[in-house]
C-alpha cells in the first residue's frame, strides 16, 4: 500500500501537469479555427453528447502542415540549427570541462561557480545584451575596427551566426556540467596505465578519456539539443527574418494569426519529434546509473 502511494504521487503529478495539458493541446489541434473565444470550434455541449463532439474532430490541421512547405522547412531548419549549435557547444564545452576537472581541487568550486554564475541574471537580459555586442555599431565591431582587423563592420546580428552564438552561450553550462562530472570521476591512474601500456598522450585521450566521458557527452548533448530545437527567444531576438525556427513559427501562429488549432498541431508534432531524443537520453542516464552500481 505504501509502495502504491510512493509511485502514485509522481504519476499524479505527471498526469496533472503533463498528460492533461497535452491532451487539451491534442484536442485543440484536431479542432477548427473560428472567430470566437476561445478561437476554435467545436465546443463540447451536453445536449449533443460526446459522440457528436468527437465526430467533428479531424486531422485537417496536420494535413495542412504537410501542404504548406513553411512548416517542414521550419522543422528541418530548427533541426539543423539545433544540431550544429549542439556540436559547437560540445567543442567549446569539452575543453572547459576538461580544464575544470584537471584543475587543483581547491579551485574547482570557484570554477563551478563561474559556470553557474550567468544563471543569476535573467535569460532574456543576457540575450538582449548580445544584441548590444553583435550589432553593427556594437562592442564587437567597435573592437575589431579599433584594432584594425576589419575596415567595414561585420553583419552578425539578425543572421544565423548570431543564433548559433546565442545558443552556444546560453546552453554552455548544460554541456559543461555533465561532462565535468564524468571527467572528475575519471581515475588519473587509468591515463597513466594507458601510457604505461604504450599510448601517447593523445591516444590515451582518445582511447580512455573520451570513452569514459561518453555518458557525460551524451547527456550534455541532449540537454542542449532538446531545448535548442524548440528555441524561440534566441532566434526572434538575435536571428533575422531568414533564420527559420519552429519555435518562432509556433509563436506567430498562436499570437499573430490567432490560429490555435494549427499552432497546437505544430506543437504536437514538435513534441513527437522530441520524444525520440528524450527516450534516448533517458536510456543513457539509466545505463550510467547501472554502470555505477
Amino acid at each position: 500500500m505504501r509502495r502504491f502511494f510512493l509511485i502514485a504521487t509522481p504519476y499524479t503529478w505527471l498526469l496533472l501537469l503533463f498528460l492533461v495539458p497535452f491532451a487539451i493541446v491534442v484536442k485543440i489541434s484536431l479542432s477548427d479555427t473560428a472567430l470566437a473565444i476561445p478561437p476554435y470550434v467545436p465546443k463540447f455541449s451536453w445536449d449533443e453528447g460526446i459522440g457528436a463532439y468527437f465526430s467533428q474532430l479531424d486531422f485537417e490541421n496536420f494535413v495542412f502542415l504537410t501542404e504548406d512547405d513553411l512548416y517542414w522547412k521550419a522543422y528541418l531548419s530548427s533541426f539543423k540549427i539545433a544540431t550544429i549549435s549542439t556540436l559547437l557547444t560540445l567543442l567549446v564545452g569539452y575543453p572547459i570541462a576538461y580544464g575544470m576537472a584537471r584543475s587543483a581541487p581547491e579551485w574547482r568550486p570557484t570554477l563551478m561557480m563561474l559556470v553557474i554564475l550567468p544563471f543569476w541574471t535573467s535569460f532574456l537580459i543576457r540575450v538582449y545584451a548580445w544584441m548590444g555586442i553583435l550589432s553593427n555599431e556594437g562592442y564587437l565591431n567597435q573592437l575589431l575596427l579599433w584594432t584594425g582587423v576589419i575596415d567595414t563592420p561585420l553583419t552578425i546580428l539578425n543572421t544565423n551566426t548570431a543564433v548559433y552564438i546565442g545558443i552556444v552561450y546560453t546552453y554552455l553550462p548544460f554541456m559543461i556540467l555533465p561532462i565535468y562530472s564524468a571527467l572528475e570521476r575519471l581515475d588519473e591512474s587509468l591515463i597513466e596505465a594507458a601510457e604505461d601500456l604504450g599510448c601517447s598522450r593523445l591516444s590515451a585521450f582518445w582511447l580512455v578519456t573520451i570513452p569514459l566521458s561518453k555518458t557525460g557527452i551524451i547527456a550534455g548533448c541532449f540537454l542542449v539539443f532538446i531545448p535548442a530545437l524548440g528555441e524561440f527567444v534566441i532566434p526572434s531576438l538575435l536571428g533575422g527574418s531568414n533564420s527559420l525556427m519552429i519555435g518562432k513559427v509556433l509563436w506567430e501562429e498562436f499570437f499573430s494569426n490567432r490560429d490555435w488549432p494549427v499552432a497546437s498541431a505544430v506543437a504536437v508534432i514538435l513534441l513527437l519529434i522530441l520524444v525520440i531524443p528524450i527516450v534516448l537520453f533517458q536510456r543513457n542516464q539509466q545505463k550510467e546509473q547501472e554502470a555505477e552500481q
Binding site: L190, E192, A193, A194, E195, D196, G198, S203
Partner: protein, 375 residues
C-alpha cells in the same frame, strides 16, 4: 635437494638490470629520494619496503617514467632511461587501484598494450589466451571489470601488465585491496608467476610480511634513503640498525654499554645491580660504547625455574599474556621496569601451563640470539 643459490648480487661478474646512480628527487623543498644508489638484478623479486611517505612509490614511479629524477641517472640494461617517456619503456606497472579500463572487457584490457604495439591479430589472440591461462581467467574473458571479484581484478591487472613481456614489472601495493586470506594465497601465486615468466619484479609494499614472503631481496627505506638491502632472512636475523630491527617484525631493544670479553664477544652492562648480558658480534665495539641489543621474542625462552647453562638469564614478572592459539606472547617486566616480550609455542594445553599472570619467571637466551647494534 640440490638447487643453485640465486644470489646475483654476490657475483661481481653479474651486471645489474637496473642501476640507480646517485638519484635525488625533490618536490619543491621536500626531498623524496635522497642521493640513492641501488642495483637490481635480472629475475630478481625486489621489494621496496617502508612506511608511507618514505619515497618507495616515488622510486617506482621513476622506474615507470611518471617522475623524472632531479639529479642522477637510472640505467635499464645499460641504457639511460631518464629521457625515455613511459610509453616507450620496456617496463610495465601494475597499479595499486589496478586501473583496469572499465569500458573494456577483460580480454580487451589484456590486449590493450599489445594492440598499441601493432602486433598482428593472431599473435594478439595467442598472447591474450596465454595470459588468461596463466592467471586462470579463461572463463571471465568477456566480462567487464565491474562484473568480477577483487581477487580476479587483481589477476587481470597482473595479466595486462605481463602481456607485453616487459623486462621489468613494477607492482605498486598489488595486494593491498585484498583480504588477508586471499592476500596470502595471491602472494604464492605471484611468486609462481614470477618464476614461470622469469620477469624481474619490483614490488612496493608497506606490509613487511608480504615483502618477506615474496621477495628475493628486501630494501628497507626511510625518508628517501635505503637503510638496508638484504635477503629476507638476513634482514630479519641481522638488521643493520635499530630502525630496521624495529620495522621488521617484533623486537626487544635493550640499551647498554659494551666491554669486550673475548673474540667477537662482548659483555653488555644494561642496568645497575644486574649481571651484564653476553652477546657476540662480528662488528667491532669499543669498550664503554653505547649500544642496543636487539632480540626477537621467539629467541627468548621462558621458564618457571632458573635455567642452567644459559648465557643470559634475567628474572621478571609476567605482566600480560597474548594468546594467539599456536603461540603465546608473554610480556615480562624486569625489576628495572623494562618490559621484555618472549614468545613460546603452546605445545601443552593452556591449563597445564606452569606460569601465569603475576608469576615470577626466568627469561633466557644464548649469546648469539641477539644482535648488537651501534646507537
Amino acid at each position: 635437494m640440490t638447487t643453485v643459490e640465486f644470489e646475483p648480487w654476490d657475483d661481481p661478474q653479474e651486471k645489474p638490470l637496473i642501476h640507480f646512480q646517485n638519484v635525488t628527487k625533490r618536490f619543491g623543498s621536500f626531498v623524496a629520494i635522497d642521493n640513492l644508489t641501488i642495483d637490481i638484478y635480472e629475475r630478481e623479486f625486489y621489494a621496496l619496503l617502508g612506511p608511507s611517505g618514505c619515497g618507495k612509490t616515488t622510486l617506482m614511479r621513476m622506474l615507470a617514467g611518471f617522475e623524472t629524477p632531479t639529479e642522477g641517472n637510472i640505467m635499464l640494461a645499460g641504457q639511460d632511461i631518464v629521457p625515455v617517456p613511459p610509453n616507450k619503456r620496456a617496463t610495465n606497472m601494475m597499479f595499486q587501484s589496478y586501473a583496469l579500463f572499465p569500458h573494456l572487457s577483460i580480454w580487451e584490457n589484456i590486449a590493450f598494450g599489445l594492440k598499441r604495439e601493432g602486433m598482428p591479430k593472431p599473435d594478439i589472440n595467442n598472447r591474450v589466451e596465454e595470459m588468461l591461462r596463466l592467471t586462470r581467467l579463461e572463463k571471465f574473458a568477456k566480462r567487464k571489470p565491474h562484473q568480477i571479484s577483487g581477487g580476479q581484478r587483481q589477476r587481470v591487472a597482473l595479466a595486462r601488465s605481463l602481456a607485453k613481456a616487459p623486462k621489468l614489472l613494477l607492482l605498486d601495493e598489488p595486494l593491498g585491496a585484498l583480504d588477508k586470506k586471499l592476500r596470502q594465497e595471491t602472494q604464492f601465486e605471484l611468486m609462481d608467476i614470477q618464476e614461470k615468466t622469469g620477469t624481474t619484479f619490483v614490488i612496493v609494499t608497506h606490509d613487511q610480511e608480504e615483502a618477506m614472503t615474496v621477495a628475493s631481496r628486501v630494501a628497507v627505506m626511510d625518508h628517501g634513503k635505503i637503510i638496508q638491502v638484504a635477503t629476507p632472512d638476513r634482514i630479519y636475523e641481522t638488521p643493520n640498525s635499530v630502525y630496521v630491527a624495529d620495522f621488521i617484525g617484533d623486537v626487544n631493544i635493550i640499551q647498554g654499554t659494551t666491554t669486550a670479553n673475548g673474540e667477537d664477544s662482548y659483555s653488555v652492562a644494561w642496568a645497575d645491580g644486574q649481571a651484564p648480558l653476553t652477546a657476540s658480534s662480528n662488528q667491532p665495539f669499543s669498550d664503554g660504547q653505547k649500544c642496543h641489543l636487539a632480540i626477537r621474542p621467539e629467541k627468548i625462552a621462558i621458564s618457571a625455574d632458573k635455567p642452567e647453562e644459559a648465557a643470559n638469564a634475567v628474572q621478571g614478572k609476567v605482566l600480560d599474556i597474548a594468546y594467539l592459539g599456536n603461540i603465546s606472547t608473554y610480556h615480562v617486566e624486569l625489576p628495572t621496569g623494562v618490559v621484555i616480550k618472549a614468545q613460546a609455542a603452546n605445545t601443552r594445553r593452556i591449563s597445564r601451563r606452569s606460569y601465569t599472570w603475576e608469576d615470577t619467571v626466568w627469561l633466557s637466551w644464548t649469546a648469539t640470539a641477539g644482535v648488537l647494534l651501534a646507537s
